[in-house]
Symmetry: C2
């Protein structure tokens, strides 16, 4: 498989760093691949735009930061404005219709998903929005298998929250599949 360079961006409370870590763990622990995950905190972290980078590869990865992602996920208008110009030409840009309302054409496949609204309608808890985003992501690009993410969730969440997170993953896969 090809090397994937991915940037999750959004605001602090949306769980973008957790999503990045779960994705990297799924790839490595359950699919025998290499991954690097990093976050840079600067003025942006204080202002609101949080960013988590993930590189997944079959080869060792020397430089852990993503310069030009082939997948960019932007979960707030601020994150979108800040990062939309770094996407690799022809890449995939995933945004959420509830949070990113003003987008301009970029040289990328633009998946503007109704993810937040679907999560609120079907689950009613915004706390699992990041897990749903992981579901939408793997529906759009088969980076890791659903079962690998589920195994990470099983190791991470106590049983009271596990079912909720698995449902959130399913909801995201459904939303992503509709776009795909």
């Amino acid at each position: 498989m090809e090397r994937c360079r991915l940037v999750f961006s959004g605001s602090g409370g949306q769980g973008v760093i957790t999503a990045a870590i779960i994705l990297a763990e799924a790839a490595v622990v359950h699919e025998n691949r290499q991954a690097v995950q990093s976050q840079s905190y600067g003025a942006a972290a204080r202002g609101g735009a949080t960013r988590g980078d993930v590189i997944i590869s079959d080869e060792p990865i020397d430089f852990p930061k993503v310069i030009q992602p082939n997948i960019l996920i932007a979960l707030t208008q601020e994150a979108y404005s800040k990062y939309q110009n770094i996407i690799r030409p022809g890449g995939l840009l995933i945004t959420d219709q509830h949070y990113v309302t003003t987008s301009r054409k970029v040289d990328a496949i633009q998946a503007e998903l109704p993810l937040y609204d679907t999560v609120m309608e079907k689950i009613g808890k915004p706390v699992v929005f990041n897990i749903s985003m992981l579901g939408a992501l793997i529906a759009l690009r088969p980076l890791v298998m659903q079962s690998s993410i589920e195994k990470v969730l099983e190791a991470r969440f106590p049983w009271e929250f596990l079912a909720l997170n698995k449902i959130a993953l399913e909801v995201g896969i459904e939303v992503g599949s509709r776009f795909a």
Copy 2:
């Protein structure tokens, strides 16, 4: 302040990545500094040795991975064996007496702390061991203020767990102070 390059290492369940993220957030969000935090997952992640890197600086940081840490924290024998040789000469090496029993002389200040045993004696819950390690760290090197870590804990943990985590931080500060 000087640039600090730090590596937290241990096993997956010890919360070393969470500790690295909390430290980076404390520095950036509450102390107006720059930080980068990253993890590399490879064969090691499957075998057991997990590693989280943190760089804290007053300048922007270009390369987010730590090559030669000036502070190395090793929480398992395996992590110790794997990483003890990367520490910067004259640096600080922190281990836990419960987990790392066989250590050889390296060119560093070696703080072999009875942290796990103290946490189990005073709190009885190993789940807060990583937070105690952060406490010991800031007692040994004033990287961030205790209040900055507490603010990150407040934003991160629901109130049922917050008190426990604050006590764990205190216990770690006490253990670190005794060594210092």
